[in-house]
Symmetry: C4
Subunit: 367 residues, 4 copies
C-alpha cells in the first residue's frame, strides 16, 4: 500500500479497478455535478495562516466526539453497499476504523448487517446511519438492533425524502449485483434495488420505501425508542441546525450527501461557518463531510469549527484497492498529512487550531 | 424518447440531426456570444439552500399565470420558423404544451399559422408573440386573428427594432428553406426571408418591415385594438419594467432574446432580481427566459421572483429529435427535475419557494 | 472584403499573410503580455443595460472631437512603420479614414512622410503623434511640418521614455526592412532601426534618440512652437490627467500603448472611469485606445465617458489584408456593429449613451 | 547566455538539463502545489499604475539592506544542495552575486562549506541561513563559523520544524547524490540525506535532526552567541512579525519556503502588506521571496513595502544552465526588466516607488 501516497493515488487506482456501474455509482454527483466539483474547490479558496516557532514536538491529533476519544479527527461517512467495492465491504471498512481508532458510520442500506459489523470490530466506535422507512416497524427494528449491538449514535439522514438524480445510474440502470443483499433486511427489502422502470434501481427502491412526510417531530419519536444520541446528517442552513437541536438532536453533520442529492447546493465547507455560528450558544458538536481529500482540508474544516470530519469516497477507494489495508492506508495518509499540517502551522494539538488559522482567499484582496 | 435523460441529451442529438444553416440559426447568439454563455453560467453562480425534514409527500408544480392554471411553471418561448426543425413545427410544439398543461407562445414569424396552431391544440394556453410591422394594418390583422382564435395574451417583443448580428447567419446567408412560408402572411411577407445582399436573409426581412420607431406609447394603440393582456418581452432594466407597467402592460417577460440581440447584455437571471424588486408594488407577474436547461435553473428563477420560466431552444431540440413526443420529453425532463428539486429542497409547492431558498455564491465568500 | 465580417476575421487573415518579424512586431505586448490580454478581457467584464421601445429610426454615429465632426467615434491610433503591412502603408490608412470620415493619427516613426500623408488625404482629419527627440531641432521640425501640412492636433506620447520589452522583437532581432525608411527623417535617423547589439533594433533606436528627461514642463515649450492643440497620449492615472490639463493639454488619450510598454498596467477601459471623473470639472475631452475590437467595446468606452476611441492593430490587420479597402472594411465593421448597438440598446445617438447604459459585471453579484 | 531573455527561458532550459530527481526536488511545492501556483498568480492580480513625463534619465536600482548597499534589490535566497545543479554549486552562485553586487544567502544544508563560499567571493554580501539542530553544539559551530567568515547576517528559518510533504521526492525516494556531501558538516551529518524508509531522504534527515521544539525564546540564545543581526525567514502573519521583532530580530523575510512547506498558505505577495503595516512602527526592514520571476514582480513587492526581494529557483535555473554566468544572466534579466519598469513607471529610483504605484485588480472593479 506504500506506493499510494495521497488519496488521489487511491482514487485513480480504484477507478481503474471497479466495474463501470459501481464506479459510476460511487463517483457520481447529482445531475450536472456542479456541487460535486465545488465540494473540493471550495477548500482551495481557503488559506491557512501558519504560525512560526511554536514548539510542535508533541503533535497530537486526538479529539473527543460525543464523549468518545478518537485518534484522528477523520472518520468514515456512511456509504451504501460497500461489498460492491470489495468482498469484505463494510466489515473491512469498520476493521480499518477500529485499527486506526476512529469512527465508522454504517449505512442502513449496507451489504453487511448491523450485527456482522459490530462483531467484526467490537472496539470500534460505531454509529448507525438511519433512513426512516414508511413501515415504522422496519425502522424501529433497525434502531433497536443498532443500540443492542453497541452502536454509539444514530446518524439520521435528514436530506433524503428521495434520492437525487444521478444520471450515470439512470443510464446504467443501476441495480444491486445479484450476489449481494441489503444485509439489514429480509426478503424484498433486501433485494429490491432492481431497475424495473428503466432507470436507477436504487431510486426506485428509495422512492417506494422511504418516508417523504418526515418532519422534525420525528426526532421525538426516535428519542422515544432509543437512548442513542441522534446526529442530524445533511444540514446546510443555520436555521435547520437550530431546528435540529431544538428537536433534540445532539450533534450536526454538515453534509450535502456527497453532492448526490441536489445540484447547486453549497459546498459543505461553505455551509459550515454559518452553522457553527448558529449553534455556538447550544454548545453542540458540528461535523462535516464532502470533498475532504487532504490533511489541509481536514485542518480547514476544524479551524472553521468542525469537531471532526468524515470521508466517504476516500474509504471506498481504499477499500477497492486493498480491503481493510487500503482503508487503513487512506486513514494513514490523512493522519500523516494532518500531522504535518499541525506541526508546520504551529498548532500541535487539535485544541490549538483557532478560528484565525484559516481565512477566505478574499481576505487577501482587500489591498 | 426515454434514452434522453436531460436537456443536454436532446440538444446533442438535435445538433447532429439538423442541417448546418438551421442548426446555426437556432443555436447562435449575437456577435461573440458572450451573453449566450453567461445566460447559463449565471445560473451556476447561484446556490440553492435546501431545508431538511419537511413533509414533501405532496409535491405540486401547478401555478397560475395571468389567471390560468398550468401544470408546470415551464412554458415554451416563441421561436421563429419551427418547421425547419420538424415537419410539424409549431403544431407539434403546441400539442406538446397542451398535453403537458403548459403555455405555448407562437411567434409572429412562424411557419404554421395562428389558426392552424389554435386548431391543433384547442385546450392549450396559447399566447401570441407580436412584432409590430411598419404597416399597421398587417399588425392589426395579426392581433385580431390571435384574439379570434382564442389566444390568451399578446407577448409584445420590445427588444427588437431590428435583429441582432448573428455571424453564422451572415456566413450562411441564411434564408427560409424554399418549401416553407411564414404562415401568418400572404405574398411577399410570407417568403421574403431571402438573402439578396449577401448577409442574413432574416435580418434583411426584419430591417425592411419592422417598425424601428416604436415607443411605449404603442401600448395604448395595442390596447385600443385588443382585449388580450399585453406582456412586455425583452426587458432587462428595472426602469423599463416600470415603464411597461405604467404604459399598460400586464406582465413582464425578462428576456435577452436568447442572447441573440446584443452581446454583452446581462444574463436574464442576473437582470431578474432588480425587475422583481421594481414591480413589487404593482403586483405584476414577472417571467423569465434564457439559459434555462435544468430543473434547478427553473427553481432558481422562481426563488428570485419569476412566476414562470420559458424555454426556447430546449423545445427546438425536442422538436428536432421527436416532434411532439420530443417536446413532451423535454417538458417531462424539466418536470421530473423540478419535482426532485422541490422535494429535496424541502419546498413541496411553488408557493413554498421563498426568496431565501437561493443565494448568490458570493454569500459564501464573506468568511 | 465582404467575407470579413468581424475584426477577428481580418486579424486571422492578416496574421497568416504577414512575415514572422512583422507579425510579431504588430501583435506583441510587453514581456508576458498579461495587460495585452486584459485590454480585451476587461471589456468582457462590463455589461450593457439596453432600453426597450425607444424610437431608433434615426441612428446617428456622428460626434465632434476637438471641434471637428467625425462620422464615427472610431479613429485610427498611431502605429509605427505601416508600410511593413502593405506597400501603401500610412497612405492607404489615411485615405480609408478620409473616406469614412474619421480621424487618422500619423506616427512620428512612419514609413510615409507627414507631407505624403497630407497630400494623399487632404480632407481627412489628421493628427500627428509626436515623440520628442533629444535633438530639439528635429522635434521642432516635425511639429512645424505637421502644422504646415494641415494636421489638426499634436498627439504627444507621454508614456515612452523608452520602448517596452517585447520579447518577440528581441528574439527576431527586429529591424526595419531594408526597402523601407522612416520617412519623416533624413540620413541616419531614417534608417537606424537596426539591431546592432543583438536585440530589438527599434529599442536601440528609441533608447539612443528619445529624450528620457521629459517632464510636464515640456508642454509649455511645445505650446510656444505650435498652435495645434496638444493631446496627451498614454495617461493611466487620474492625477496625471489633471497634470496634463494643468500643463496645457487640450485632451487626454487614455492608452497603455497597446499594452506594449509595461506589463501589469491596467487595461485602458479599467483606467478610463477614474480619469473621466477627474477631468470632469475641466470639460476636457477624453479618448481611449487599447483592446477595442467590436462595436460593443466602442459603446462601453463611450458610456464610461470616452468621446471617441481609437484602434491601432485593427487598422493594421485591415491594411495587411486589403490596403485602403481593408482599412475601410474594418471601419465599416465597427460602424455596422456600433449602429446595431445604438439601436438595440435604445440610444440612437451618441449623446443618448448615458453613464447608466453600462455597468461592471459585479453590479449583478450583489444579490 | 544572451539567448535567454527571460527567467522562463532559463527555467525551460534547466528543466531539460537536470536529471529527474533533482529537477523534481527543485521545482516541487508542498502536496498539491496550490500555493506554488498562487505564488506567481498573486503577482498577476496586482496592477502597476505608471506615471507619465517624469525625468527618468538617471535610473538607479541601488538600495541598502541592513546598512549595506546593493546594486539591485534582488538577492539570492537560500536553497539546499546547489551542486546538484552544477559542479560549482554555491560557489558559482555566490560569485555571481558578488559580480552583480547583491546579497547571497548560503543554506545550512549546502554542498559547499561556509568557508569555501566566503573565500570564493570575499566582497559579496553574504548571509547565512540557519536551521537549528537538536544538537546545539552543531548549531553554535555553524553560527560562529559564519560570523568568523564574514557573513553579515543570520537568516533564521522559522517555518520548518520539519520539511513539508513533497510528493515527487517521496516517489523518487530522494537522496543526496553519492558524490556530494553537506559541506558544513562532518561524518553522518554530512551524508545522511538517504532514503531508508522508502520516502524522501531529505525529510528523514530533517525529522531526525532539526529541533521541533523551538520558540521565539530561541532568538535570545542566538543573540547570546553572535553579533550578526538576525533575520526571521518564513513569516506569513502580522502577529508573528511583531513577535519576531520583539524577540530581537532585525528584519523579516516574508516567505513560504518556496511553497514547499504547507500547501494552502497565502502567496507571499498576498501576505506582505499586513506584515509591512504591522512592523511600520518598528522601522524594521521587510524582504520577500516566492514566485518572483520578472522585473514587474520585483517592482510590485517593493511598492507594497519590501525593501528587497530574493529569488531561489531562478538562481538554480541559471546555475544549471551556465554556472556563474547563468546566475549572472538571471540577475541581469531582473536588472534590465526592473530598470525598464522604473523608467516606464515614472519612478527612476527605488525611493520613488511609493505605495500608490501598485493596486490590487479589484481596485478596477468598483465601477
Amino acid at each position: 500500500m506504500q506506493k499510494y501516497i495521497c488519496v488521489k493515488d487511491l482514487e485513480n487506482a480504484a477507478l481503474e479497478l471497479l466495474p463501470k456501474a459501481t464506479r459510476d455509482y460511487y463517483k457520481s454527483g447529482a445531475t450536472e455535478e456542479q456541487t460535486l466539483a465545488e465540494n473540493s474547490r471550495a477548500f482551495r479558496r481557503l488559506r491557512i495562516r501558519p504560525k512560526c516557532l511554536v514548539n510542535v514536538e508533541c503533535a497530537d491529533m486526538r479529539t473527543k466526539v460525543l464523549g468518545n476519544e478518537v485518534c484522528l479527527p477523520v472518520g468514515i461517512s456512511p456509504s451504501a453497499m460497500q461489498r460492491m467495492a470489495h468482498p469484505e465491504g463494510e466489515v473491512a471498512n469498520v476493521k480499518a476504523a477500529e485499527a486506526e481508532g476512529t469512527v465508522y458510520i454504517l449505512s442502513t442500506i449496507a451489504t453487511s448487517s448491523i450485527e456482522e459489523v459490530a462483531r467484526a470490530a467490537p472496539k470500534a466506535i460505531k454509529w448507525f446511519q438511519l433512513y426512516i422507512y414508511n413501515d415504522r416497524e422496519v425502522t424501529k427494528n433497525l434502531v433497536s438492533r443498532a443500540e443492542q449491538a453497541g452502536y454509539k449514535a444514530l446518524v439520521l439522514t435528514v436530506d433524503t425524502p428521495l434520492f437525487g438524480i444521478r444520471r450515470a445510474d439512470i443510464r446504467n440502470k443501476f441495480t444491486l449485483p445479484p450476489h449481494l443483499k441489503l444485509a439489514n433486511f429480509d426478503g424484498d427489502l433486501s433485494t429490491k434495488i432492481q431497475s424495473t422502470k428503466g432507470g436507477s434501481g436504487l431510486n426506485e427502491y428509495v422512492n417506494g420505501l422511504f418516508d417523504k412526510s418526515l418532519t422534525w417531530d420525528e426526532i421525538k419519536w426516535l428519542k422515544s425508542i432509543t437512548r442513542m444520541p441522534i446526529i442530524a446528517k445533511g444540514i446546510l442552513r443555520s436555521d435547520d441546525a437550530v431546528k435540529a437541536i431544538e428537536a433534540g438532536c445532539s450533534a450536526i453533520l454538515v453534509s450535502n450527501h456527497g453532492a448526490r442529492q441536489l445540484d447547486g447546493v453549497p459546498a459543505t465547507i461553505e455551509a459550515l461557518p454559518e452553522i457553527v455560528e448558529a449553534v455556538k450558544e447550544y454548545n453542540t458538536e458540528v461535523y462535516l463531510d464532502g470533498g475532504v481529500t487532504t490533511g489541509t482540508d481536514v485542518y480547514k474544516a476544524l479551524a472553521l469549527g468542525a469537531r471532526m470530519v468524515f470521508v466517504g469516497r476516500p474509504a471506498l477507494w481504499g477499500l477497492t484497492v486493498g480491503g481493510q489495508s487500503g482503508v487503513q492506508r487512506m486513514l494513514n495518509i490523512f493522519s500523516t498529512e494532518l500531522e504535518y499540517t499541525l506541526q508546520i502551522a504551529g498548532t500541535p494539538t487539535i485544541a490549538d487550531i483557532t478560528r484565525d488559522m484559516v481565512c477566505h482567499e478574499n481576505f487577501y484582496c482587500k489591498l
